[in-house]
């Protein structure tokens, strides 16, 4: 018998701090698999952001530099410009990327920085204990929308993939989910394409992952995973928005 599924080499063999059923763990593994697949581990420089994924640096067997909250695209810009031959990626939550880091992601995309951005949208500020994120859905209860997100006063759940698609500087933009095997397999394909875009020097690549946060959604892992399908995907449609060719 041959081992047909194993831990990717780029993923350090330690327990994770993520809550049970958190999709961050799956997304970490997918990224690590791609690093292995393209053989770029020794060229990779990860940029960790601030959010539940802040310990990225412990989990990836690669060089990692920590960015202040929201600023990973700027840090990655500095890294990539200084080391154009390295593979540079950021990994950012929806608070990080779509709230405080709005300007940085838009301008990094607009400049067409040759970086890969992994964007984990779990409709909530996970690390800080479940406050509203820019992507929080209409009516969703969070600790700062105790009566549910009211579009009139809190604004609309923001669709970052669609927004970045508008910018001529972005090369590849896609949205994926890992809530079931089918979506997960599609997600792998999109992530591969994102990697290839950077490796081929084609430009800025961006994959948004819809992700479950059972803890702050106050759901079981099963309920949370189902919510991705039932509530999130209808509003945040999956697929390639730009640059699917190749």
């Amino acid at each position: 018998m041959k081992q047909t599924f194993k831990r990717p080499k780029a993923l350090v063999d330690i327990p994770s701090h993520f809550c049970p059923g958190c999709h961050h763990g799956i997304i970490h593994r997918l990224v690590a698999e791609c690093i292995d697949l393209y053989g770029v581990r020794e060229k990779t420089i990860g940029v960790a952001s601030v959010g539940c994924s802040v310990f990225l640096y412990d989990y990836f067997n690669a060089d990692v530099v920590e960015a202040p909250h929201g600023r990973a695209p700027a840090v990655a810009t500095g890294v990539k410009r200084a080391r154009p031959d390295n593979f540079v990626f950021t990994y950012q939550g929806d608070g990080d990327l779509a709230a405080i880091g709005t300007a940085e992601i838009i301008h990094a995309a607009n400049r067409g920085e040759q970086i890969t951005v992994i964007f984990v949208n779990n409709t909530v500020f996970g690390m800080t204990g479940g406050q509203m994120a820019p992507t929080t859905m209409s009516g969703q209860e969070t600790t700062t929308t105790p009566f549910g997100r009211d579009l009139k006063t809190n604004g609309f759940p923001i669709k970052m993939s669609e927004l970045l698609t508008e910018l001529p500087g972005s090369t590849f933009v896609a949205r994926a989910a890992v809530n079931n095997s089918k979506n997960l397999m599609k997600a792998k394909k999109l992530l591969k394409r994102a990697f290839e875009v950077q490796i081929n020097g084609e430009g800025f690549s961006f994959v948004e992952f819809l992700s479950a946060c059972p803890t702050n959604w106050k759901m079981t892992p099963k309920q949370a995973t189902e919510r991705v399908q039932e509530e999130m995907i209808p509003y945040f449609p999956l697929g390639v928005f730009k640059g699917g060719q190749e």
């Binding site: 809550c19 996970g126 690390m127 803890t215």
Partner: protein, 182 residues
């Protein structure tokens, strides 16, 4: 009168609630109280502890390096806080998760509570924390058991008030364990 204690365990064990109830009980007796929580990085399933100080007079530090009393709900907590208990102090141990052989401390009193069994007796295992709290209060005498029961009202969210009776039963069971040894 002065009392301090550290209560520690995993995230889901309700150690923060224990601390809160204890502080409310002290307040009900017109004592001063402080409560100070400490969380780990993990949101769920991580470790957590809190410190409660009760006193007649103004309370200085709300945090304590060497407590008079420690309640440890799991093994990592025993390892961390057991050795810190002051000489002559009290260590209350959740015997359902901590094997007796690990509890080897000199110069302090140790109270082993088979909290899960006792909790199952009165209802369900999630009441283990209340059992331990009842036992601790009976043993230390920091507050009256009556005050502890009363404290459930302000400490619990209104949604859970229907659970107060069974919580009281668990506290009483813990207290009885101390008095009667079973």
């Amino acid at each position: 009168m002065y009392f301090d204690c550290i209560i520690a365990g995993f995230g889901g064990q309700g150690v923060m609630l224990m601390g809160n109830i204890l502080a409310y009980a002290a307040m009900a007796e017109k004592k001063k109280a402080t409560y100070m929580p400490v969380y780990g990085v993990e949101m769920r399933g991580g470790t957590a502890n809190c410190t409660v100080v009760v006193s007649d007079g103004e309370i200085g530090s709300p945090i304590i390096q060497r407590p008079m009393t420690a309640i440890v709900m799991n093994l990592p907590s025993l390892e961390k806080f057991g050795p810190r208990v002051k000489k002559g102090g009290l260590l209350v141990v959740n015997a359902s998760l901590v094997p007796e052989k690990e509890v080897q401390f000199k110069g302090i009193k140790c109270l082993m509570i088979p909290s899960r069994d006792l909790a199952l007796e009165v209802g369900n295992e999630r009441l283990a924390n209340m059992v331990v709290l009842g036992a601790t209060v009976r043993k230390s005498g920091v507050v009256d058991l009556k005050s502890l029961k009363k404290a459930l009202y302000p400490a619990l969210d209104r949604r859970y008030h229907k659970m107060i009776d069974v919580n009281i039963k668990a506290m009483e069971r813990g207290a009885r364990f101390v008095t009667e040894g079973v």
